[in-house]
Amino acid sequence: MSAWRKSLVRPELGAICGTILVFSFFLIIARGTGMFAPQGILNWGVVSAQFAIIAVGACLLMIAGEFDLSVGSMIGFSGVVIALMSVTWGYPVWFAIIVAFAIAVAIGALNGYLVIKTGLPSFIVTLAFLYVLRGLTIYGSIATTRQTIIGGVSEVAAGDPIAWLFGGKILGFLFVWLADIGLIGKFVAGPRAGQPVIEGVPMLIVWALVLIAFAHILLTRTRFGNWIFASGGDAQAARYVGVPVNRVKILMFMFSAFCATVFATCQVMEFGSAAADRGLLKEFEAIISVVIGGALLTGGYGSVIGAALGALIFGVVQQGLFFAGVESSLFRVFLGVILLMAVILNTYIRRMITGER
């Protein structure tokens, strides 16, 4: 294999090709629709960032040999915990957020503990939690507020020291400048007339980038990353050379729950409300992003960059079809077809890399 070929043949190759293809497609199809204007980019950027946040958690967990179907329910659960605590019970928002993270991570640990202790497939254990968490979320919000949506978080979050980390926007000055030199538009009416149409980069995107960078470095550049690969590749072999496999797996379940809670908190802070139905089917979307990104469903192989690209493809296709004016129900058809094609391509690439038969 030449150096050139070697640098090319990597787990995320399929996702890279996919990304190029998808962008070329939409550059042709949806050129004039504003999809690639600054605002349009921000739009699919935010959607992709959302997918990326949960995909990163699912990716490391999948490489460690497990997966988590309770991600979607966890998103609804964490959001409702924050809203209940801050709005209904009047605790400060920063406290509500910390408690939500603590509970979510503890549930992730419980997930992991059950998988390790009972030796059951994570499919079953986390499927049980998919139902339990969603049930608790609906029950909790109805029992306390007689509603499944709890609003008013924005008001109580104003001036909170942590809330900004999830709902804020940064680099605003940059967009003011860009608007001044005419590169992006300004609002022309309403109370915000004169301000640039893009207020700043939402913290959601920052979180996505930070999590991707963190997970990528963790996975590829640290000792712990090697343990993640080893735990998923062959848990027994890893144990024999002293890798603390159980700890690695439980930590990855916790990380997956952490990512789900980041997702939930950003959403609650941005929109000011939590609803019991948030995150429905997001577990599948996370798994799909990861698998499109070249990871192996059975563990031991994959790439965070690939998963992030998978999320990008997911986001761009979803929003791009809207821009292109395609009937939205066809999105699912596209998604299924992309998934199948990506997996077949990835299998081929993986065999080339690993000599698997």
Binding site: G34, N43, I142, Q147, T148, A189, G190, F271, A276
Partner: protein
């Protein structure tokens, strides 16, 4: 000529009620010579809906028509669209006040709670004291509000009278029968749309209580129309979705072309469909009604 508008709903792909609105925007689009795109979050996730509004604004249309399914979630993106100079009309769920706060031109529709309240008032007049609200979409806030409004009009606690029925017709039917069997003193039923109304009608037919319970529903379908005619269903609350789709397109077109716009919000409903006016409704049920 050839203006482009985007209508964003909160309904999942599979929600049948919105077809009337889709038909309405087609009719209006043809009549006015404009294109109207219909967009919705595929799973009904309101956060996704916010993204779609942002995306619609980014494609700089000549106007946006949107629901206010959740003011908290949608006020931001809709406000931004207004600030970008895009005319916005809000429809369906949400209140006039919320619409004003966003800066929209007007609101065409009826608030959910008030609609539920209206249904409750009718029920109260018919002597309902204990009721069952069949909620097939428990995770959707608007549907909970309908039940809540109904309960308030009756002056009773909602409590366990709202059931999480799920979307599967056989399960809805069985749950309704189970509920009625264990709460035989129930004398009122509210269903929130065809998905829950049709299995409930089947349940009443099967357990022989058809016509003995005061039964109100939201929205209209051919099955519901037939049930109204046979006295099983007392009334269907029709917020006349056709108007919610049709009027905003016409208004936005006129605004774009001639700069004229009505000064006030429009109440498209509630229209109560009863045995008296069912004939006309039935002809267009599911299409224009």
């Amino acid at each position: 000529e050839g203006e482009r508008f985007v209508l964003v709903s909160h309904a999942p792909d599979s929600d049948s009620w919105w077809n009337t609105i889709k038909n309405a925007i087609n009719v209006a689009g043809e009549q006015m010579g404009v294109t109207v795109e219909y967009r919705n979050p595929p799973t009904g996730d309101l956060a996704d809906m916010a993204r779609i509004i942002e995306q619609a604004a980014a494609s700089s249309p000549d106007g946006i028509i949107s629901t206010i399914a959740d003011f908290d979630v949608l006020s931001g993106p809709l406000g931004n669209a207004v600030a970008m100079g895009i005319p916005v009309i809000t429809i369906n769920s949400g209140t006039e006040e919320q619409s004003k706060e966003i800066g929209a031109l007007m609101h065409v529709g009826q608030p959910e709670k008030a609609a539920g309240f209206g249904a409750g008032e009718k029920a109260k007049a018919a002597g309902v004291t204990k009721f069952l609200c069949v909620n097939h979409y428990i995770t959707n806030p608007a549907s909970v509000e309908r039940c809540q409004g109904y309960a308030e009009a009756l002056g009773v606690e909602l409590g366990n009278q709202m059931i999480d029925a799920g979307q599967d017709p056989a399960e809805i039917k069985s749950k309704v029968m189970a509920y009625l069997q264990t709460n035989p003193d129930t004398n009122g039923i509210l269903t929130l749309g065809p998905t829950s109304a049709e299995p409930t009608i089947a349940a009443l037919n099967e357990n022989g209580q058809a016509g003995t319970i005061h039964f109100g529903t939201f929205d209209i379908s051919s099955e519901i129309a037939a049930a109204i005619k046979s006295d099983v269903v007392a009334f269907a609350i029709d917020q006349q979705p056709f108007l919610q789709g049709y009027l905003p397109v016409v208004i936005l077109t006129n605004l774009a072309r001639y700069g004229v716009v009505p000064g006030n919000s429009i109440n498209s409903g509630p229209g109560f469909v009863t045995k008296d006016n069912i004939e006309l409704v039935e002809k267009h049920a599911g299409q224009y009604r």
